[in-house]
């Protein structure tokens, strides 16, 4: 299928710091792409960079091709026409992402009137339809509610209704379910999944919850310290993680075992913490890596493509070692 979004070597810098150092990924229509990584790995900055919403003093580099156009080269005015209509975003905090002094209906109507040029009456009817689409009961009455009259889960649904109001082709969900409890989380993801297939949108799910990724994502990108370090299909990636960081992440997530409770023993952890975004020579994961060698400090490991969907950035992963050995033998 044709690619909707192609990100090449996207980087974001603030002064000397470079929190995102060249990330590339693609998204096709109807696909749910997950970007995972711990706090500070550059996920949210990548998302804001895609939307062109970074603060003015941020320096962005690379290319973001959306539907054939490079978003980083578009003037602000054209970008404004794309935001909300072609690319929409859902934010982490449903409690603060809605304007407290406007009814939820008016907030949906406003988007529709900007991008779809509907009159107020048509927009209002469409707003009620949208609230119904995101499973808000009694939408015709609820449309005149203020955000403080809704619970967190309902507010997040309203946020989704606003985001999908103009049937965007790409939806970025930046930790969209992190602030919600688990049952509501499942409802919201189910909703996103349904809308994705109904509207044939690409969804970029930014999260640090591996459980969500395993259940919902079509493809996973693992980020660490501003770089993509591994990519693959979720089943394959979770079955055989190659990169030591991905292995550590999976080992650290609590799992259900019949005769073992996570309180029975110490939790598995990745030692150390994510290094600061400031300059680090070589592999950024080296200080925490169990298999680090001295060569890791000299150069940044390149991403190696193992198969159509599988990429890893660690030269000491056996599969890569074998691949490069095979290549050298053939030569």
């Amino acid at each position: 299928m044709a690619r909707l979004l192609e990100v090449h070597n996207l980087s974001v810098g603030f002064g000397n710091a470079q929190p995102v150092k060249g990330v590339s990924f693609t998204a096709t229509p109807g696909e749910m792409l997950a970007i995972v990584g711990e706090s500070g790995s550059g996920k949210s900055l990548t998302a804001l960079g895609l939307m062109g919403l970074l603060p003015r003093h941020a320096k962005t580099g690379g290319e973001i091709h959306f539907d054939g156009r490079d978003l980083l080269k578009l003037p602000e005015k054209e970008l404004r026409g794309i935001r909300g209509r072609d690319i929409a975003m859902i934010f982490q905090e449903p409690m603060t992402s809605l304007n407290p002094v406007m009814t939820i209906g008016d907030q949906i109507v406003e988007v529709l009137r900007i991008h779809e040029k509907l009159n107020h009456k048509q927009a209002r009817l469409r707003a009620i339809e949208l609230l119904d689409l995101v499973s808000i009961p009694d939408a015709a009455k609820r449309v005149d509610d203020y955000p403080h009259q809704l619970s967190g889960g309902m507010r997040q649904r309203v946020m989704i209704a606003i985001a999908v109001a103009c049937s965007p082709r790409l939806l970025i969900a930046d930790e969209a379910t992190t602030a919600l409890d688990v049952t509501i989380q499942a409802q919201v993801l189910q909703l996103l999944d349904r809308l994705r297939s109904q509207l044939n949108m690409a969804v970029i799910l930014i999260t640090h919850d591996l459980g969500l990724v395993a259940q919902w994502a079509d493809r996973v990108v693992v980020m660490y310290a501003g770089r993509k370090i591994e990519q693959g299909l979720p089943d394959v990636l979770f079955e055989t993680p190659y990169h030591p960081y991905t292995q550590g992440l999976l080992a650290a997530s609590p799992r259900l075992k019949a005769d073992y409770h996570y309180r029975d023993g110490p939790l598995t952890e990745i030692p150390g913490s994510i290094v600061s975004a400031a300059a680090e020579l070589g592999c950024a994961f080296r200080p925490r890596c169990p298999v680090a060698r001295s060569a890791c400090g000299s150069s940044v490991p390149a991403l190696v493509q193992l198969s159509a969907e599988r990429e890893v950035a660690c030269p000491y992963v056996p599969a890569i070692a074998e691949a490069s050995y095979a290549a050298s033998v053939r030569r």
């Binding site: 407290p100 002094v101 499973s135 808000i136 009961p137």
Partner: protein, 333 residues
Amino acid sequence: MKAQQLKIYSGSENEISAGTPELEPDAAPVPGSRWTHIHAPDARTTAVADARRQGRGRELKIFLSNPNALFGIVVLAIIAVAALLAPVLYPGDPLEMVARPFLWPGQNAAYPLGTDSMGRDVLAGILHGAWISLTVGIAATLLGLGVGVTVGALAGYFGGLVDDLLVKLIEIFQTIPSFVLLVVLVAIAQPTTTTVTTAIAIVSWPTVARLTRAEFRAIREKDYVLAARSLGFGHARIIFREILPNALPPLIVTSSVMVASAILMESALSFMGLGDPNRVSWGSMIGSGRDVIRTAWYLTALPGLAIVFTVLALNLIGDGLNDALNPRFSEER
């Protein structure tokens, strides 16, 4: 309804029945699965009818249940009615000499508050003066608010160079003692009601501008403003629809106090003889009664009381508005 058919979990028997409309809290527990009689309140089924429809009325209710604010409203209403009735009750020029000078209040039923040193009716002067005080106070406040909000909004929203320039402008005005500037402005221009109003607005807008700028700087960083930007909203829409309504409460509170201080400034100008000489004003009445304060103290006391009550009423209203609109003082938000 379509909404309720959406399932939460799939698979297991004892799934949490959050979405089913037929909740029966007293249903017998299904054997084999615990907790089925306990249901977490779910957004989709919980009735919130009693909590609704009080969004806008709430502030008004808090405001009106405050006795001080209510007193302020009543006093201000009386003064406003008096100002409106002045041309009806005393159609002539209040500066006209109508009786013998120095009639004390109550001495002559035709002049309930007496007459001044020139034989002018004090009550007529106070009623007509109320009109001047209120119109100057309100007009100067509106003008000051308009300029101040515009400057503050531009500075707070755009930041950077625009902010630097506008803040410098505000600082220039703030470093000049405001009353001295006011006197100079009125002395340069002809002292008419319009110039006095404009001059008061010129010395009072920097306060509003600073307040608006601070509010805009804080609200600009809120998530819903980022969300609005992510939806492709333009600057004007974000300023007027997203930020300004949220910045209004402190501005409303300030403006009621601004009206009070504008009335005081107008009175002070008139007291110094810098007001419009053809219009009677509370300040000018006090000014002309000052010479005879030992023998006819009521000539300064009565217009003085009018000023005190008006300013007190406006300050009480400001306090009441502050309690009603400031989220930190109302426990519900």
